[in-house]
């Protein structure tokens, strides 16, 4: 499916089986997060998560 990039407005290819929380890097350079809810699938810029549990 194609979803509009919230930053550049161009279409982004999102796999039909994409899960909420998946991360997609768009050609415009924005890192996007898939959000799937009752209204469907949308994209939002991925916030920088500052805390982590690295390896």
């Amino acid at each position: 499916m194609q979803v509009t990039c919230p930053v550049c407005g161009l279409p982004v290819d999102v796999p039909d089986d994409a899960l909420s929380g998946e991360v997609i890097e768009h050609d415009c350079g924005t890192v996007l997060e898939v959000v799937r809810d009752e209204e469907g699938v949308r994209l939002r810029p991925l916030d920088d998560i500052k805390e982590d549990w690295g390896e």
Partner: protein
């Protein structure tokens, strides 16, 4: 069918692998995207058991606590996550449990931190009490360097500048160990090999399979018991004088490099353990 939750903020390889492994073990994974939901305390239709996989320390502990209010068993629970979020609390718990750790000092002013470093002896390692991937961890070879680091720390946003944690610098053999505990099992360990003293794989450390000997196994179990945790990644130094010394503890550990280096499917063990716990 048995439902087991997987709570996360970003869906990484680890969370997908755990979800697939849960299916192979006869459970239905319920993916809980914590950045796309809310939790009302004491209410809600949640699985009886949820595996906590949030990258964010605060989201991990707070969401675990919120789910626990609704009677959900969260693995790891909010308390061990809170403890492991804080390097000073972790060192305190381990010290009380008699687990060998680097000599550690807490000070609450830069002046006292300098005095503490004289007591420990240089070089020392200055750490923030929160954080991982080795960020903001710095080595001071002498008082001049420590003074500079302390000055810089006062102006770094997000760092708790009231609490100063310093540790003795341990001369590692170019590597440290990340060992995994899942329940009472210690399935795998890796060496994190690096020319730099910070060895995190996210910082360029190379993962190589490490043997889990009996001493390491017993130490890892003792750490998990002391922290009250089910699943841990434990960072261990090999001190030339004292042997194994526990440096830090991770309550939501990444493990893709461990799976790749050791061939040991950590995700399968986590799924098996979760299914076993849920069926108890």
């Amino acid at each position: 069918m048995l439902r087991i939750g997987v709570a996360y903020d970003i869906l990484r390889w680890e969370e997908r692998a755990i979800a697939d492994a849960l299916r192979r073990n006869g459970a239905e994974p319920q993916l809980i995207h914590l950045r796309n939901t809310f939790i009302e305390l004491g209410r809600g239709e949640w699985p009886e058991l949820v595996l906590q996989r949030s990258i964010s320390h605060s989201v991990a502990s707070e969401s675990a606590s919120a789910l626990e209010s609704a009677g959900v068993t969260v693995v790891n629970g909010s308390l061990p996550i809170l403890l492991s979020n804080d390097k000073l609390l972790t060192a305190s718990i381990l010290s009380r449990a008699g687990v060998p750790t680097p000599r550690t000092v807490a000070a609450f002013t830069p002046e006292d931190t300098l005095k503490a470093a004289d007591t420990i002896g240089y070089p020392v390692v200055l750490k923030p009490v929160n954080g991982s991937w080795g960020r903001m961890v710095a080595k001071a070879r002498d008082e001049e360097e420590l003074r500079a680091l302390l000055d810089h720390r006062l102006y770094v946003p997000g760092i708790n500048s009231q609490v100063f944690l310093i540790q003795e610098y341990i001369e590692k053999p170019g590597r440290d160990i990340r060992v995994f505990v899942i329940g009472e099992d210690v399935p795998a360990a890796i060496y994190r090999v690096s020319d730099h003293w910070i060895t995190n794989t996210a910082r360029g450390g190379r993962a190589e399979a490490a043997e889990v000997d009996e001493e390491l196994r017993e130490l890892a179990i003792r750490v998990a018991e002391a922290m009250g945790a089910d699943i841990l990644g434990i960072d261990v130094f090999e001190d030339p004088r004292r042997g194994y010394v526990v440096n830090e503890v991770n309550a939501v550990p990444e493990f893709k490099n461990t799976v790749r280096a050791t061939g040991h499917p950590i995700h399968e063990r986590i799924a098996e353990y979760a299914v076993e716990l849920a069926r108890r």
